[in-house]
């Protein structure tokens, strides 16, 4: 059971020079987020991963398909069920400078989720705040200070404490460390790993830093222009990527090794636009292995022999090339 995405789609209508157009930000995404795992959504800017996070957090409504929790679709839930859902699913956002209300004390920031659901007396609240601050490695005296008195890394810890306040089961992490200084990132990363182990949390991680994703995640879904192109256990995907886009992504990641020069993709068009996606397989204009069928048919996400799933004519279906 748990959290699942079924044929999830989200389209936006925008006004462009030629009148109205539809941006297919998320297009028929199917994904399972098993309990206790860290599932990462990777892809470049504009691929739709942040939109998926917003759909899961009910900050947007799907155009088609559904997000289900314990079998029930989010948008068919009653108000009490939604409240339950919100207790179980929390979030940590990317920008530590924008995710905390500058006019509230840390204490009020952390207790906000609690007070949205329960009535508690002051003593219980204060005890809980002290407990949470301790878990994230901040002293209890931090509770009466304001966000601007803290550094970026400390603010992110406050955001994590806030996310833990309701004892959630699932936390959506939207680029949790990309806005932090390099020497601080490891601290926060270790904290996230520690609390996952300690509290048995499930993470849905949105990130573009592939090294971070490999480090933290157990399953990976690679997203291109709104659709999942490859998904599976992260060890498998990182060790031997099969989809050409995944391969291009991994090849482009630089490494701290002077003898390693990342390979540049030949085409100069940046990521295609979600406004006017190419016909057939959306990746075909940039794909070094594109075949005729790729221009006309969009490959479905299908299971491969080793258990992972990929959407590529090279790998599945009648046109598959063995040992591609």
């Amino acid at each position: 059971m748990g959290l699942e995405l079924h044929d999830l789609s989200k389209h936006f209508t925008v006004r462009s020079d030629r009148g109205r157009a539809t941006v297919r930000a998320v297009e028929r995404v199917n994904l399972e987020i098993p309990e206790g795992q860290t599932v990462a959504l990777v892809g470049e800017s504009g691929c739709g991963k942040t939109t998926i996070a917003k759909l899961v957090l009910m900050l947007e409504r799907p155009t088609a398909g559904a997000v289900t929790y314990d079998g029930k679709s989010l948008h068919e839930m009653s108000r009490t069920e939604i409240k339950d859902y919100r207790r179980h699913v929390q979030a940590v956002f990317q920008d530590p400078y924008a995710s905390l209300n500058p006019r509230l004390t840390v204490r009020r920031i952390i207790t906000e989720p609690i007070l949205a659901h329960y009535r508690r007396d002051r003593a219980t609240l204060n005890a809980r705040v002290a407990e949470l601050l301790d878990i994230v490695g901040l002293p209890a005296s931090a509770a009466d200070l304001y966000p601007h008195e803290f550094s970026g890394g400390q603010r992110q810890r406050i955001a994590i404490a806030r996310a833990l306040a309701l004892d959630p089961k699932i936390i959506i992490l939207d680029e949790p460390i990309s806005a932090l200084d390099v020497s601080i990132r490891a601290q926060v990363l270790n904290l996230l790993m520690d609390i996952q182990e300690k509290f048995g949390l499930t993470y849905l991680l949105i990130a573009h830093d592939l090294a971070l994703v490999e480090h933290l995640s157990t399953r990976v879904a690679v997203i291109y222009l709104g659709s999942v192109v490859e998904t599976g256990p992260s060890e498998q995907i990182f060790a031997s990527p099969r989809h050409p886009y995944t391969q291009a992504l991994l090849n482009a990641v630089p490494r701290p090794d002077p003898d390693y020069v990342p390979k540049a993709a030949e085409s100069f068009d940046d990521t295609g636009s979600a406004l006017e996606p190419p016909s057939g397989c959306k990746f075909h204009p940039r794909c070094p292995h594109a075949m005729a069928v790729c221009k006309t048919d969009n490959p479905p996400l299908a299971k491969l022999a080793d258990g992972r799933e990929a959407a590529c004519h090279l790998l599945t279906g009648p046109h598959a090339v063995p040992n591609a």
Binding site: R87, S99, A116, Y146
Partner: protein
């Protein structure tokens, strides 16, 4: 119970919101003269008749057109001179301050409240509600304030209440537009998104997240509006659409003294200076407050 090995050091100075605000007040170069002038207007408004050296409405034709005390023919009894009916200009200015203050207070509070509420609703909910409110505001803005005043005076008795109503109807759009765009940008902030994720209702989000962060802008808008309102009231009274005798207002003084400007310049100039100083002071104070409360300036 701590899971991590690296407790982060925390800033040593723990300050409360109030003490931070006042310490910042002391530090910045406050505009003392404008603040003093505004304080004087306030004192005059509260003190009213008890502070006036003479009865503002006391007719004394024998003492008409006395010039201010520094000019030949003036006396220290009438410091700023007298008008065509022998009434002491200084006393009338002090009495008129009350009208200015009352009109400002009511007008700002009501137009501010209505405009802010509508601005927040339009900005937060968006969609059709937003469109409706914005359209109403645009239609209203197409009607000049004075024309509105004319219409109202034709149907209602001119006087203090009419002036206040006209001002409220004219100025709410100003607040609504500015607050609406503030809310539009605040709405996208991560902490508002988080409040929704945490399960907070819309009302809680209004009061906890939107209103306090709009507060700064609101304070500045209100200070800037003081000057505008006083000028508007003066214009209305000047045209006969506002305050009527025997009440005193600076605008009315301007109207009465206009025809005598060539030989009794003080009758129109003194209230004019009062209006100018009050507007200027409120604008400068508003500027200072805006710089003071701007969070981006807190860094350096």
């Amino acid at each position: 119970m701590s899971v991590t090995s690296a407790p982060a050091p925390v800033p040593a100075v723990a300050t409360s919101g109030v003490s931070r605000f006042t310490s910042r007040l002391r530090l910045k170069g406050a505009p003392w003269v404008p603040l003093f002038i505004l304080a004087m207007v306030l004192v005059a408004a509260i003190g009213g008749e008890t502070l006036t050296p003479h009865d503002p409405n006391g007719l004394n034709l024998g003492a008409a057109f006395k010039p201010p005390f520094w000019q030949a023919g003036g006396t220290s009894e009438y410091l700023l001179g007298t008008d065509n009916l022998g009434r002491d200009v200084l006393s009338r200015i002090i009495a008129g301050a009350r009208v200015s203050a009352i009109v400002s207070l009511y007008a700002i509070v009501f137009s501010g409240a209505i405009g802010t509420m509508l601005g927040i609703i339009a900005g937060y909910f968006g969609g059709i509600i937003d469109t409706i409110i914005v359209r109403i505001a645009e239609i209203k803005m197409a009607i000049p304030g004075l024309a509105l005043a004319l219409i109202f005076s034709a149907t209602m008795d001119p006087g203090l209440s009419t002036v206040i109503i006209v001002i409220v109807l004219t100025y709410w759009t100003w607040y609504a537009r500015i607050i609406r765009s503030e809310v539009l940008s605040l709405r996208e902030r991560d902490y508002v998104a988080f409040a929704k994720v945490a399960g907070c209702g819309s009302l809680t989000i209004f009061f906890r997240h939107l209103l306090p962060n709009i507060f700064n802008t609101l304070v500045v808008l209100m200070t800037l509006q003081v000057g505008q309102v006083i000028l508007f009231e003066a214009s209305l009274s000047f045209l006969g659409l506002g305050i009527q005798a025997p009440d005193t207002s600076w605008g009315l003084m301007l109207a009465d003294a206009r025809q005598y400007i060539t030989y009794a310049w003080w009758g129109i100039t003194m209230p004019g200076i009062a209006i100018m100083l009050t507007c200027l002071s409120s604008n400068l104070t508003g500027d200072w407050l805006r710089d003071l409360l701007d969070p981006k300036r807190r860094q350096l």
